[in-house]
C-alpha cells in the first residue's frame, strides 16, 4: 500500500501504459491485502529474472509484439509536446490560421495511434502475463503432487497455499511493471532528452537542475521509510499473531475468563503499532508533497528563466510550452523508479520462493522396475528395518516380521511408538534408513513407486472426501470403474443403504471436506473407494478411531469384507477391533517388543497383557 499512496497523486496523468492503482483488478489475496509492508529483498535477483524471462519467452511472438507497441506508444508520448510548441510558435503567436488545422489533425492522428497501440499493448501483455502465471501455478501444483510426504510434514498448508497465491500475485505485479514500464521509461527519458537538447541546450540544463534533487529526496525518504515500515511490520506481525491465536482459541479464552487479559495484551501491541505506523505513514506520505513541490519549482524555473530568455529573444513561447511538458515527462520515470523497484523486488522475491519449490527433488528421481500390470500376492517381509528422520533420533529400530498373503497384521502400542511409520515405509512415503522391506520377495526400493502404491490401499483416520458427487468420490479408487462397479463396491462397504437414502443418491454433491456427511458415512465412502481399488495389501490406519463404537460395530462387517483375501495392516487403539488378527505386533519406542496372536500375547503376560487389562478393567 505505501506504493499506492506515494504514487497515487500523480498516477493520474502518467504515461498511458499503466492503470491507476485503485482500478487494477484485485488479484489473489483480494482487496484485503492492504497491509502496508516493507518489500522483501530478493536474494539472487539476476538468476531469478533470467528464469522468469525463460517462462515469458515461451510466448516470444506476443512479447515482441508487446515491445513494438510499447515503443510506438512511448514515441507518441514523447513527440507530442514538441508539436504543441510548434503549434504555438508557428500558428498562434503569429496569428496564422492556415496550417493549424492540418497540424491539429496530425496531432489527433498521433494521439489516436498512441492510444490504440497502448491499449493493444496492454491487451496482448495481459494475455502473455496471465498465461505465464497460469503455467507457473500449474507447474507449482504439479510439483506439489510429486514431492515426498516428508515435505508436507514440515510445512503448513497456509504456507504452501500462499506460494500459489500471494507469491504468484507478487510476480504478476512485478511483471506488469518491468516488462513494459522499463522500456517506456527508457524511450521517454532518452527521447525527451534528445528532443530537449535539440530545442534549447540552456533550457535543457535548467530542467535537469531539479533531477538530482528528485533523486536525493526519493532516496532519503525511501531509506527512512524502509526503516519505519520495518518497525511497523514487526508490530503488525505480532498483533496479527495475537489476533489469530486468541480468536482461534476464543472459546478457551472465554471458558478461562481471560477476555480482559487478552484485551490488555492486545491494547499494548496495538498502541505500539499505532506509534510506529503514524511515523511510517508520515514519512512515506512526504514523497507526494515533496515531489509536487519539486515539480512546481521546476515549472517556475522554466517559466521565469525561459520567459526572460524569450524577452532576450533567445527562445520562443512555444518552446517553453514544450519544455514545461518535457520536464514533467522527464522527471516522472525517475521518481517512479523507487516505486517500481519495490514492486520488482517483491516480484522477484515471490518468484524466488516459487522456484525454490520447483527446484526441490521429487520422490520420483529414481525409476524402479515396473510391474507391467501384474498384481502382487501380498507377502510382506520386514528385515532389520530401521528408520529415522534425523540420525540422532531413531523412530524405528530393527523391526522384523513376516506377513503371508491374506493375513491380518495388527499394530498396537502407545502414541509415538512407530505404528504409523511402519505403514508409511511400506508405501514408501518415507525411505528406510537401513534394512529391507520386501513384497513378494522383491525389495520395494527396486519397484516403481506408483506401481507399488497402486497395490497398497489405504483407509486413513481422517476420511478424505473432496467436493464432487459421491459417485466421483468412490470412483477415485479406480478411475475407469463403471457405475455398476461403484455401486457394488458401495454395497460391499455397507455404504449403499445410506447413499440411496439421500435425496439425490449417488449424485449427491459433497461440500469441501464432506461436511454434509457424518464422519461414519465419510469413512464408509473411503472404504468403498478402497474396495474399488482392489489392492493386494490394505492399510487401515486408525480408520475407525473417531467413530463411536456402536457405529463402528455397524461398519465392522464392511471392514471384514474389505480385508477378505488381502494382506491387511490394522492400526487401532481399541483392542476389540484387532483381537482376531493373525499376528499382533506390540510396538514400543520404535521396536516390535512382542509378536504373536492375541492368545499367545495374553499368555505371555507382557506389555500387551497389561494394555489389554487396563482397557477392560474398571477404572480405579
Amino acid at each position: 500500500m505505501p506504493n499506492e499512496q506515494q504514487g497515487e497523486r500523480r498516477e493520474a496523468n502518467r504515461d498511458p501504459n499503466k492503470l491507476p492503482g485503485g482500478l487494477s483488478m484485485p488479484g489473489p489475496g483480494g482487496p484485503g491485502r492492504g497491509v502496508p509492508g516493507p518489500k522483501e529483498r530478493a536474494r539472487n535477483t539476476g538468476a531469478t529474472i533470467r528464469r522468469l524471462w525463460a517462462y515469458l519467452n515461451q510466448q516470444r511472438a506476443g512479447l515482441i509484439l508487446v515491445y513494438i507497441l510499447t515503443a510506438i506508444a512511448a514515441l507518441v508520448t514523447m513527440v507530442s509536446p514538441y508539436f504543441l510548441g510548434v503549434a504555438i510558435d508557428r500558428f498562434i503567436t503569429p496569428g496564422r490560421a492556415e496550417g493549424l488545422l492540418g497540424l491539429c489533425i496530425l496531432l489527433l492522428g498521433l494521439y489516436a495511434g498512441g492510444a490504440i497501440s497502448s491499449w493493444l499493448q496492454a491487451y496482448v501483455m495481459t494475455g502473455v502475463a496471465q498465461r505465464m502465471l497460469q503455467s507457473l501455478r500449474g507447474d507449482l501444483f504439479r510439483k506439489y503432487q510429486q514431492l515426498p510426504v516428508s515435505f508436507f510434514d514440515t510445512r503448513t498448508h497456509g504456507e504452501l497455499m500462499s506460494r500459489n497465491t500471494n507469491d504468484i500475485e507478487n510476480v504478476s505485479n512485478g511483471l506488469n511493471q518491468t516488462v513494459t514500464q522499463m522500456l517506456t521509461s527508457l524511450i521517454v527519458v532518452v527521447g525527451s532528452l534528445v528532443l530537449m537538447l535539440s530545442l534549447n541546450v540552456w533550457l535543457t540544463l535548467l530542467s535537469l537542475v531539479t533531477i538530482p534533487l528528485v533523486m536525493l529526496a526519493t532516496r532519503m525518504i525511501g531509506g527512512v521509510t524502509r526503516r519505519n515500515f520495518k518497525a511497523q511490520q514487526e508490530h503488525l506481525g505480532a498483533l496479527n499473531g495475537l489476533i489469530e491465536e486468541s480468536v482461534g482459541g476464543q472459546r478457551t479464552v472465554q471458558i478461562f475468563r481471560r477476555e480482559k487479559a487478552m484485551q490488555a495484551e492486545f491494547g499494548a501491541i496495538n498502541g505500539k503499532l499505532n506509534k510506529a505506523a503514524i511515523k511510517a505513514q508520515i514519512v512515506s506520505g512526504l514523497v507526494g508533497p515533496v515531489m509536487n513541490m519539486l515539480n512546481n519549482v521546476n515549472f517556475a524555473l522554466i517559466a521565469a528563466v525561459g520567459g526572460w530568455m524569450v524577452w532576450k529573444d533567445w527562445t520562443t513561447v512555444g518552446i517553453i510550452v514544450s519544455f514545461l511538458n518535457y520536464s514533467r515527462q522527464f522527471g516522472r520515470p525517475i521518481s517512479d523508479l523507487a516505486n517500481q523497484y519495490n514492486l520488482i523486488q517483491s516480484g522477484v522475491a515471490g518468484a524466488e520462493r516459487v522456484f525454490e519449490i520447483l527446484d526441490l527433488d521429487t520422490e520420483y528421481e529414481e525409476h524402479g522396475r515396473s510391474l507391467d500390470g501384474r498384481s502382487m500376492r501380498g507377502e510382506v517381509t520386514f528385515e532389520q528395518v530401521s528408520f529415522a528422520y534425523k540420525p540422532e533420533q531413531p523412530i524405528l529400530q530393527d523391526v522384523n516380521f513376516h506377513a503371508k498373503p491374506g493375513q491380518k497384521i495388527a499394530l498396537v502400542g502407545p502414541t509415538g511408538a512407530g505404528k504409523t511409520t511402519i505403514v508409511n515405509l511400506l508405501t514408501r512415503f518415507y525411505e528406510i534408513s537401513s534394512g529391507q522391506i520386501a513384497i513378494d520377495g522383491q525389495n520395494i526400493r527396486e519397484l516403481d513407486k506408483n506401481d507399488l502404491r497402486r497395490n497398497v490401499g489405504m483407509v486413513l483416520q481422517d476420511a478424505y472426501v473432496f467436493a464432487g458427487s459421491i459417485r466421483d468420490n468412490i470412483r477415485y479408487g479406480r478411475l475407469d470403474a463403471s457405475d455398476e462397479e461403484i455401486e457394488r463396491a458401495a454395497e460391499l462397504a455397507n455404504a449403499d443403504a445410506f447413499i440411496r437414502a439421500l435425496p439425490k443418491g449417488y449424485d449427491t454433491t459433497l461440500t469441501m471436506g464432506g461436511s454434509n456427511l457424518s464422519h461414519g458415512q465419510r469413512q464408509l465412502l473411503t472404504i468403498a473407494r478402497a474396495v474399488l481399488a482392489d489392492p493386494a495389501i490394505l492399510i487401515l490406519d486408525e480408520a475407525t478411531s473417531s467413530i463411536d463404537t456402536r457405529t463402528e460395530m455397524h461398519i465392522q462387517q464392511a471392514m471384514r469384507s474389505l480385508m477378505q483375501g488381502r494382506t491387511s495392516f490394522v492400526i487401532a487403539h481399541r483392542l476389540s477391533t484387532i483381537r482376531d488378527a493373525d499376528r499382533i505386533l506390540f510396538m514400543n519406542a520404535g521396536r516390535a517388543e512382542e509378536q504373536g496372536t492375541h492368545e499367545e500375547l495374553i499368555a505371555a503376560k507382557g506389555l500387551y497383557y497389561d494394555l489389554y487389562m487396563s482397557q477392560f478393567k474398571p477404572a480405579g
Binding site: L19, A97, G127, F141, A300, R453, S576
Partner: protein
C-alpha cells in the same frame, strides 16, 4: 459505513486540519499556470523584464508554500487515520471477546481474523485517502474549471463536451468491471479451494497414485480463473488509453479554437498556455475519480463486514441481579432442559433432560457421535442457554449466577486442546495466572503431563509455538487437562479430552482424578465404556434424549442400548471367536 465515523470523532482536529492543509496545497498548485500567463502576457509580450523576475520569484514562493500544505496534510491525515484504525481495531477485538458461543458459531474464526486485520487496515487506508486524495482531486477539478472559465468562457464549451464524456465512460467502465471483480474473486476461491483440498488429502492422492487426475482437476480451475482474469484486465486496460485520448483531443480542440480566438483578439497567447495547463490538470484529476470510486466500494465492503460483527448481540449476558450465593458444593441439576442451536422453534439438540449429580460424584456420559453429549455439558458453564427448563448448580439457576464466578468454578476441557504461544507453564497457568510453580507441577502430575514436560530440554519453560504446534495431540490434551485441574473447580467437565492419549496413560489420569479431585463433581464424556465404568452414574444419550441412566451394573441389566455399546467394545472379539 458512515456510522464507523464515530471512531474518527476524537480526532476531529487533525481530521479537520488535514483537508485544510490540502486546500492550501491545491490553491498553490492552481496559481502556477495563472502566474505563467502573467510571465507570457505581461512580461514577454509587454517586454517587462522586471515583471518576469518578480513573477518567477513569486512562483518559487508559491511552490514552497504549497509544500507546507502538502506536508501538513500528510501529518494530520496520518495521525487521524492511524488513531482511527487503532481505536476501531481495539473496539472490534473487545467486541469479539464479548461474543457468546452462539455468536462464534455464526462467525467462523477465519473470517473474524480477517475482519480484525485486513478489513480494519482497509478502512484505515480509506480514511487516510479520504483526508488526502478525496479532497485533492475534486478540488483540483473544480478549481481548474473555475480558473479556466475566468480565463475564457467561450473555450469552456469544449469542456462542456469532454467532461460529461469522461464521466459516461467512467460510469460504464465501473459498471462492467465491478461484477467482473466478483467473478474473479469467486474463481480465485475455486483455485484456492482445489489446492487446499489437494493438500489436505495429499496422502490419499499419493496412496491412490492420482496426481494426473488431480493436475487435470486443478488445470480446470486454473484455466477458468486465468480466462476471467484476462478478460477483466483487458477491460480495465481500456481505462488509461481512452481517458488519455479524450484529454488529448480536448487539448487539440482548445488549441484550434483558441488559435481562432487569438486571431480575433479575444485570447492572449499566455492565456491560451495557461488554459491548456488547467485543462490538463482538471482532466487528469478526473482519472483519479475512478480510483476513488473503487476505493469507496472496497471500503464499504470492509465496513459492512466490520459492522456485522458489531451488530452481533451476545445472547449470554451477566444477570442484572446476580445471585449472591457462590458455587461451593457442586450439585449439578438438569430440570427438564431442552436446547437447540438454531432459532426458536428450530431443531432441538436436547429434549427434556433431567438428572442430578451430587458433589464429588462422577457422571459418565456415553452416546453416539451427534447424540448431544457436548451440547449437554456446555449448558453448565452457560456457553449456551437452554430453550426451556433450568440448569442449576447448588440449587441456583446458572443464569442467575455471575458469569465470571460461574466459569471460575466450572472447569471445562474441550475436545480440541487449544494452547497458546508462551511457555508450557504459562499455558497451564492460563486460568489462574497467580498459581505457584508447585501448584502447576501438581496439576501437570495429575494430568500425566509432568513426565514428558520434564523430558523436554527446557522443561516447564519450553516455549510452545502458535497453537502448541510442537506438541503431539496427546501431549496437548494432557496440558489442557492440567490447565483445568489447576483451577480446582467445583465442577469439572472432560469432553472426550483424552481421545489422543493412549489407554495406559488415560487410566492413570482417571486414577489421579479420583485421588486429587475427590470433592469435585466430575462429568466425563467418553467413547469407551472402560473410561466410565467405575463412575457413580452413567448417562447414555441417544438422539438428544436420555436413553438410560444408572450405574454400570444397573444399565447392563436394564438398558439394551448400553448393552449394545458394551458388546461393541468388550465382547466383540469373543463374538468373532464364537
Amino acid at each position: 459505513m458512515w456510522r464507523l465515523g464515530k471512531y474518527l470523532k476524537p480526532y476531529w482536529l487533525p481530521a479537520l486540519l488535514a483537508p485544510l492543509f490540502m486546500v492550501l496545497e491545491v490553491c498553490m498548485d492552481l496559481m502556477q499556470p495563472k502566474l505563467l500567463q502573467r510571465i507570457v502576457d505581461d512580461g514577454i509580450a509587454a517586454g517587462d523584464a522586471g515583471e518576469i523576475q518578480r513573477t518567477g520569484l513569486l512562483m518559487l514562493g508559491v511552490a514552497l508554500l504549497g509544500v507546507i500544505g502538502g506536508v501538513g496534510c500528510t501529518i494530520y491525515s496520518s495521525i487521524a487515520s492511524q488513531n482511527f484504525g487503532r481505536d476501531l481495531r481495539g473496539s472490534l477485538f473487545g467486541k469479539v471477546q464479548s461474543l457468546s458461543f452462539r455468536n462464534l458459531d455464526n462467525l467462523p474464526t477465519g473470517t473474524l481474523i480477517t475482519r480484525i486485520t485486513n478489513d480494519v487496515t482497509q478502512l484505515q487506508t480509506f480514511v487516510q485517502m479520504l483526508l488526502r486524495m478525496f479532497v485533492r482531486s475534486p478540488m483540483l477539478i473544480v478549481g481548474s474549471l473555475v480558473m479556466a472559465v475566468t480565463i475564457n468562457a467561450k473555450l469552456t464549451l469544449i469542456l462542456a463536451v469532454s467532461v460529461p464524456l469522461l464521466f459516461v465512460f467512467l460510469f460504464f467502465l465501473v459498471r462492467f468491471s465491478l461484477p467482473m471483480f466478483a467473478t474473479v474473486q469467486k474463481r480465485l476461491d475455486g483455485v484456492n479451494g482445489r489446492l487446499q483440498e489437494n493438500l489436505n488429502g495429499i496422502r490419499v492422492v499419493k496412496a491412490f497414485v492420482r496426481s494426473d487426475y488431480e493436475e487435470e482437476r486443478f488445470g480446470e480451475v486454473n484455466r477458468d480463473y486465468t480466462s476471467v482474469m484476462t478478460r477483466g484486465m483487458r477491460i480495465m486496460a481500456l481505462n488509461m488509453p481512452v481517458m488519455t485520448l479524450i484529454l488529448n483531443i480536448s487539448i487539440i480542440a482548445v488549441l484550434w479554437y483558441g488559435g481562432a480566438l487569438n486571431r480575433s483578439g479575444d485570447l492572449a497567447v499566455g492565456e491560451l498556455v495557461a488554459y491548456i495547463n488547467y485543462v490538463t490538470q482538471m482532466l487528469s484529476s478526473m482519472l483519479s475519480i475512478g480510483m476513488i470510486l473503487t476505493f469507496i466500494s472496497r471500503a464499504k465492503a470492509s465496513a459492512d463486514r466490520v459492522n456485522e460483527v458489531f451488530d452481533e448481540r451476545p445472547d449470554i449476558e451477566n444477570p442484572t441481579h446476580a445471585h449472591p450465593g457462590n458455587v461451593k458444593g457442586g450439585v449439578v441439576e438438569f430440570d427438564h432442559v431442552s436446547f437447540g442451536y438454531g432459532k426458536e422453534n428450530g431443531e432441538l439438540a436436547l429434549h427434556d433432560i433431567s438428572f442430578t449429580v451430587q458433589p464429588g460424584q462422577t457422571l459418565g456420559i456415553l452416546g453416539a457421535t451427534g447424540s448431544g453429549k457436548t451440547s449437554l455439558v456446555s449448558l453448565i458453564p452457560r456457553l449456551y442457554d437452554p430453550r426451556s427448563g433450568e440448569v442449576r448448580i447448588d440449587g441456583t439457576p446458572v443464569s442467575e449466577l455471575e458469569l465470571s464466578s460461574l466459569r471460575e468454578k466450572v472447569g471445562v476441557v474441550l475436545q480440541e486442546a487449544n494452547l497458546f504461544s508462551g511457555t508450557i507453564a504459562d499455558n497451564i497457568r492460563f486460568g489462574r495466572p497467580e498459581a505457584t510453580d508447585a501448584e502447576v507441577q501438581r496439576a501437570a502430575r495429575s494430568a500425566q503431563a509432568h513426565e514428558f514436560i520434564e523430558r523436554m530440554p527446557e522443561g516447564y519453560a519450553t516455549r510452545l509455538g502458535q497453537k502448541g504446534i510442537n506438541l503431539s495431540g496427546g501431549q496437548k490434551q494432557r496440558i489442557a487437562i492440567a490447565r483445568a485441574l489447576l483451577m480446582r473447580p467445583a465442577v469439572l467437565i472432560l469432553d472426550d479430552s483424552t481421545s489422543a492419549v493412549d489407554l495406559t496413560t488415560e487410566s492413570k489420569i482417571r486414577g489421579a482424578l479420583e485421588q486429587e479431585m475427590g470433592g469435585t463433581t466430575k462429568l466425563i464424556i467418553a467413547q469407551r465404556i472402560s473410561a466410565v465404568r467405575g463412575a457413580d452414574l452413567i448417562l447414555v444419550m441417544d438422539r438428544g434424549a436420555v436413553a438410560a441412566i444408572g450405574t454400570h451394573d444397573e444399565l447392563m441389566q436394564d438398558s439394551e442400548i448400553y448393552r449394545e455399546i458394551y458388546r461393541s467394545q468388550v465382547s466383540e472379539g469373543s463374538e468373532a471367536y464364537a
